[in-house]
Symmetry: C2
Subunit: 337 residues, 2 copies
């Protein structure tokens, strides 16, 4: 890769505060001279029959082609007849692993110090199968589906990630004492993959116990891998430990080398357009995107500028009890580059 050839990346600013925080990323990338050309895509105004959602087929094609992208928050419009935009994205692009590093931000104090863990969530099946039926009046069922292929794939990714990032341990989170077949299969797959990585420690932790341990002492954990719903729950819990979803990045890994980084917080319509939003989660997600592209030096530079600005404390947005606008905070990061 030469710094002369720009890489094309898809950008979904999203809605609500999305466009403002996406602007912030564009500004920081420009200041840091990142060789990226953004291909912007917006949420459609009508349901695209090919995606069954307001996400257009063209926008998904853009990610498939560029293989790398960044996504702001997208609120799913209320109503029936179409799927959540986030779920459509995961499904259509086969984004099988959702990776959320969760590290204490130096300078932003919470009840917990030195949190440094990563949740890796299976992103395509489990409780998110969408299969639900009324059995008889007053009795409904949801199907949780666990497959060997998806479990092996995410376990493989988790161990690969642990190795590539000098992590020591992978913990598989489950409730196989109750769901012996589904979570049992998930564990079986994790064990099989663990065998191939003797240098990485492997353990299994029951989800209820895991949550208790996380709130008592999160430094006990390193890399956590788990089925879809547990990942949804535990990644939000972990985000809470370091200050919330406004500060935590995420990246979705798909088949064929696709990486779609994403801010997982909401679109905060109440403060949209007011230049008040905190762009940290999307900025840190864009850093994950840069690492995926092996632009590690640039990634470090931006990450340090973000952390430095928050630690410095002079410019902070309202959610962190500051009074800076999105623009002021972004300018401060650019100055710190």
């Amino acid at each position: 890769f030469s710094s002369q050839t720009p890489i094309t990346a898809t950008l979904f600013p999203g809605d609500g505060i999305g466009p403002e925080i996406a602007e912030s990323v564009k500004q920081v990338f420009k200041a840091a001279e990142i060789p990226i050309k953004w291909e912007e895509h917006y949420i459609g105004t009508e349901i695209d029959p090919r995606t069954q959602s307001f996400l257009t087929w063209e926008s998904l094609e853009s990610v498939r082609c560029n293989k790398v992208g960044l996504k702001g928050p997208m609120a799913t419009p209320i109503g029936k007849g179409h799927r959540s935009l986030n779920l459509t994205m995961r499904k259509e692009l086969n984004l099988y692993a959702n990776v959320r590093p969760c590290c204490s931000l130096p300078g932003y104090k919470t009840r917990y110090d030195n949190v440094n863990l990563v949740t890796i969530r299976e992103n395509t099946e489990g409780e998110y199968s969408g299969l639900e039926h009324q059995v008889v009046r007053g009795v409904v069922e949801s199907l949780k589906i666990i497959t060997r292929s998806a479990s092996l794939r995410v376990a493989e990714y988790a161990f690969h990630y642990a190795k590539a990032n000098d992590r020591e341990r992978v913990s598989a989170i489950h409730k196989a004492n109750i769901m012996q077949k589904t979570d049992g299969l998930f564990l079986e797959c994790c064990r099989e993959v663990a065998e191939k990585y003797p240098e990485i420690k492997y353990e299994e932790v029951i989800i209820d116990n895991c949550c208790m341990m996380l709130v008592k002492n999160p430094t006990l954990f390193d890399v956590l891998v788990m089925p879809n719903l547990y990942g949804d729950i535990i990644s939000d819990l972990c985000a809470g430990l370091i200050g919330g979803l406004g500060l935590t990045p995420s990246c979705n890994i798909g088949e064929g080398g696709i990486a779609l980084a994403e801010a997982v917080h909401g679109s905060a319509p109440d403060i949209a357009g007011k230049n008040m939003a905190n762009p940290t989660a999307l900025l840190l997600s864009s850093v994950m995107m840069l690492r995926h592209l092996n632009l590690n030096e640039k990634a470090n530079q931006i990450q340090n500028a973000i952390i430095g600005t928050i630690a410095d404390g002079k410019y902070r947005t309202a959610d962190l009890s500051g009074s800076s606008s999105t623009t002021e905070f972004t300018n401060a990061i650019c100055d710190n580059l």
Copy 2:
């Protein structure tokens, strides 16, 4: 009820540290002159075909007849062909609601102050249906079953509890944005019951967001009601906030007015028989049993003695970084009565 007529209550000391902590309860009840006669039952050594577990039919009959009981930890023996003892108990006795108050213990410092919430868990269905199948090789499914009757029953109990205990708000915890039919039905039932309790505030919180809020600010919550698995997860998370399962009581409510109070921690075989176990969770559970029997004065007396002893700090067991034996700690509580 006259203080002269003793009430008969079933006692399952359980295994591991169970007998020692049950001894502690018996001693404190004696010292506090509680008019209770214990009917002790042990775990069988063979599988009882009528319960499909090591729990005997007679022991369950004892609870059905006495309608009130206290249960220590029971480890489910490893192996196939029988059910978890805890699950057998819930199923056979139709223990439909699991109530876990979670309050900061004055004098035992954690990262959180002033936690004061109660989780009420549906205890009979949901992800615990036990219905699992292999669909084809490498594809397995678990069925989550939600019924209108069980949802109404636990919602009814939650609102009744809130009213009886001067609580302001009930939050229904769910993931109905994904499991629209199952969790949707659960919410529908909660809303129906909420209508009948206009004096109690009602809200709905998505489980991932709930976990984030709980670790950021648990004082936002009051009474939480939820399907089985979410209750399993969230009650352990909440226990972690105030110090762990060794300090949190629980009580199972069944059809026909049955109440089975229970310590939900494990049987800790490593320290069993060493006079080291902390009896607090079982003692506080026995306090819940007393309240169920309307012995509120006695309940307060014992609760204050437990809290006072822990706050005093002179006698604490090893799990709370003290060096007292179970007996010394129990004696101190009796002295504080």
